[in-house]
């Protein structure tokens, strides 16, 4: 991984840099699996190696491919980096050793999650119980961040409807000639979408959950768009509806929280949602994961659409 990172420093071909960054993400996903963080690995693989690389490539289409290194002033930067590094290494000296079961991290708050989460929440995947219940409010914030990014990309890259109509006529489907690709994809896309739903609802038991599911779902739509062209894709997935869905996910999540208040609990206290606390937790987690999944899938799709419209607009003007 260090080698990949160093190669990124040296290369000036941005295409190669982006591809290497994708590889770096994939490697780090493997690393996360090795460290027992399966949920994180899943997310990193789908986000870092998938969506983020895709977006970078989409924007590379619009800019120069090679970096200009003529004005490169590494000295000051090296200085700052050295100081930071020295401070970090200094900080590591008193750290508990890697993998040490006696380290304080594992013994204050973490114990309760591991010992009691089954009884209190009834979900085997502890990461899901923390994410959705114990620290569910963080996840609401996270959904809100994604929504913010969606708003940002929309407001920055929005193409007016007229331009869309005009270019829709001109754009042929990019890969309309590739019959095999199209057939294979047609067969694959339903499976991708079903897999996304599986990940969405299986998050309680294995790695996965709303966020990963949302990304996979978006990937399915993106694949469809790449093969059949933006025009066709937007007839199937209307951008207006998707825009509303981005908002809908956040509303569902916060709405669940408000319902808890009206039912007499604290905000996001799922215990009050059903007669039995564990059932309540189940229902709450199901609903908010749905909210997360909706917002994520909708935002990712929107972001991809907006980037592609920009490319289309440039090519045909």
């Amino acid at each position: 991984m260090v080698a990949t990172a160093l190669a990124i420093v040296c290369l000036d071909d941005l295409f190669a840099v982006v591809m290497l960054a994708g590889i770096y993400s994939l490697l780090s996903a493997c690393f996360f699996v090795d460290l027992d963080a399966v949920d994180v690995a899943f997310t990193e693989a789908s986000v870092g190696a998938g969506i983020s690389t895709l977006l970078m490539l989409a924007s590379l289409k619009l800019v120069k491919r090679y970096e200009d290194k003529s004005r490169y002033k590494p000295l000051l930067a090296l200085g700052v980096v050295t100081v930071t590094g020295a401070l970090l290494i200094y900080g590591t000296l008193d750290m508990p050793h890697f993998g040490d079961p006696g380290a304080p991290v594992h013994h204050h708050v973490a114990d309760r999650y591991i010992e009691k989460s089954m009884g209190e929440i009834g979900v085997p995947n502890i990461v899901t119980s923390i994410l959705a219940a114990y620290r569910g409010y963080d996840t609401l914030g996270e959904t809100c961040v994604i929504f913010t990014a969606g708003i940002g990309v929309m407001s920055l890259l929005m193409v007016s409807r007229r331009t869309r109509e005009e270019s829709r006529k001109k754009v042929p489907a990019d890969m309309s000639q590739q019959v095999i690709l199209r057939i294979v994809a047609k067969m694959m896309i339903p499976f991708i979408l079903i897999f996304a739903l599986y990940v969405q609802f299986h998050g309680d038991y294995g790695p996965g959950g709303g966020f990963q599911a949302g990304v996979i779902f978006a990937a399915g739509i993106i694949l469809y768009t790449m093969l059949f062209g933006l025009g066709v894709a937007q007839k199937v997935f209307s951008p207006e509806v998707i825009k509303l869905l981005t908002a809908f996910g956040v509303l569902v999540y916060a709405g669940v929280g408000m319902t808890c208040i009206f039912l007499g609990g604290n905000f996001l206290d799922y215990n009050v949602l059903a007669h039995d606390p564990v059932h309540g937790q189940h229902l709450g987690i199901l609903l908010i994961e749905l909210g997360v999944g909706t917002t994520v899938a909708a935002v990712m799709t929107t972001i991809f659409f907006e980037f592609t419209w920009r490319t289309v607009k440039h090519r045909y003007k």
Binding site: M1, D39, Y72, P124, L157, F211
Partner: protein, 138 residues
């Protein structure tokens, strides 16, 4: 033993530094964003390494297993990854708009163009002032 015990953290430090270096030393706006991703991912490693316990397994409860790694950092990093991709997406959108507005994404070229704009408004301002002084004298 001391060195081996901290080895993992030192790798993380090196990755953090490489990422940070790309962000501040490079002029190309896309490369800066790539650097930022590396920087953030390295910090994620740090969190996940903190949560690891030797001989433990992934924190999904199962009757036959006893020791689990700490799940809390995993949950925090899931959130942080999402924040990271949001930042990257927004950054890329800005890069696209900058490319359209300036025709370049190299920092020094942008500065040069900005300075030009600045100079023009400066000249205009001094023009006004000069006219005013002439008027006062006559």
């Amino acid at each position: 033993m001391n060195i081996l015990g901290l080895y993992n953290y030192w790798i993380v430090v090196i990755l953090i530094l490489i990422g940070f270096y790309i962000v501040i030393a490079h002029e190309n706006l896309i490369k800066k964003l790539v650097g930022l991703t590396i920087f953030q991912t390295a910090v994620f490693f740090f969190y996940i390494s903190v949560g690891k316990i030797k001989g433990a397994t992934a924190p999904i409860l199962n009757d036959s297993l006893q020791v689990y790694s700490n799940p809390l950092p995993h949950c925090l990093i899931l959130t942080a990854i999402v924040v990271g991709i949001s930042t990257t997406a927004l950054g890329l959108a800005l890069v696209v708009r900058i490319q359209e507005a300036y025709g370049s994404i190299e920092e020094h070229e942008l500065h040069a163009q900005d300075n030009n704009d600045q100079l023009e408004s400066q000249l205009e301002a001094y023009g006004t002032r000069k006219q005013f002084n002439i008027m006062k004298r006559t």
